[in-house]
Symmetry: C2
């Protein structure tokens, strides 16, 4: 068997997230079905990030092992000819057997797009934004600084996760212009993210931007490590896994 590294994009709207679930349409299942069909045996695909239902990806990474005699197949074209329109494989590379999409990753980059106008949302953008209305983004930027660095993010993790530690490091949170003047993109770079952590941080930042809570109150919530105290989770539609970063050590 030889190991492949896959770079994958998808529109999450019609998927029940990444992870295989009985009788649900998931990205992992679509990929496994495509690989299994071409290899004529069951192939398991392991993703770097188990994105939730409705979350998008432009640079999800996964790995899988295939029989050596299938290595010659033009994998990108072969997979894309089978995969449905809402998921595609951008790149397929042979990698060392030690490469693990999830555990070899050094950092992940997510974007979260907000739509700042209440009156309308361009239909072209509906699946990819959170229509949160007007917000004070300078205040949000100021508040975002409290998350930078290594912290216990327990109050920004949703239940249903199996992680041992809730400590993570966020390297950067920055605001970029969006595609249209009504939107902006918030970029999150970290060594890893807990379940719904970006969406929970974004929910908190928008609460700040709307004046619903103060930065001091947010600091307190952060310190108390109790999810129930934090503002509501931002919707899945605005979130996109942009990139998974690996070192040179595999």
């Amino acid at each position: 068997m030889v190991r492949l590294k896959l770079t994958i994009a998808y529109v999450g709207t019609n998927f029940f997230g990444w992870q295989r679930q009985k009788e649900k349409r998931t990205v992992q299942k679509c990929l496994e079905d495509a690989f299994s069909r071409i290899c004529e045996r069951k192939i398991v695909v392991y993703g770097a990030s188990r994105t939730d239902s409705g979350v998008h990806a432009l640079g999800q990474v996964a790995h899988c092992d295939i029989p050596e005699n299938k290595l010659h197949i033009p994998w990108v074209r072969a997979l894309n000819s089978i995969l449905p329109n809402d998921v595609c494989v951008i790149k397929v590379e042979q990698v060392d057997k030690n490469f693990d999409a999830r555990f070899s990753s050094k950092a992940k980059i997510y974007s979260y797009t907000i739509w700042k106008c209440w009156d309308y949302v361009l239909p072209q953008r509906v699946p990819f934004v959170w229509r949160c209305g007007e917000v004070d983004e300078e205040l949000m930027e100021e508040a975002s600084k409290i998350f930078i660095g290594t912290h216990d993010f327990a109050s920004f993790q949703n239940s249903g996760s199996d992680v041992k530690s809730t400590v993570r490091t966020i390297y950067e949170i920055r605001r970029e212009k969006g595609l249209f003047p009504e939107e902006s993109r918030w970029i999150f770079v970290g060594n890893g993210f807990l379940k719904q952590m970006v969406r929970n941080i974004m929910g908190a930042l928008v609460s700040i931007g709307k004046g619903k809570i103060t930065i001091d109150e947010l600091k307190e919530i952060f310190q108390k490590k109790d999810r129930r105290l934090a503002p509501a989770t931002a919707p899945a539609s605005g979130l996109c896994l942009e990139k998974v970063i690996y070192g040179e050590d595999y």
Copy 2:
């Protein structure tokens, strides 16, 4: 009655184009239904451009007349609360009775987006591009010059139109970067466009870019004014009505 000017955006994928047709889902019908419901009487909406099935818009313009006692309604919000997710009204303005969305227009801007990679298309872009594969875009730019100016575009008009003259003026055709490195946007500015004219010109330019025809052959087709000689029409998905331009004379 007072006249309103509407600026409208839609994703054309699930519409049978702009124009009302019996028992078909069209943009005009959606808008008329929304207006008629709010005004409690039949309202007719006239569009600047009768975009075809599958063609998108970011800046379609239309006009309609409503009873004066309905002028106070917050129209943008009211319409968008009724309209489906794939069409929205961006702006509603009261205009002079002489304003006609179609006949007062001075110019229209369309964009046509091509995806230049055969192996994959990002799912986020599938509905908005033509996956035409690799093309020589410098050659296409050179060829595009033959269309600039006032010409008889008979060989770039599809049948089924009711126009009297096939003479139109194209002010500009230019290439812009797309959202992703794999795509580029071709911008068309003209005083008006015949049925499927942008898609027919784009089909011809891509034929040039793929080396299927030469610029001399294209010139000959252009001169012969016979649609049957011209290359195939580019698909609707890549086309978007970006803007309709009006003078100050209404």
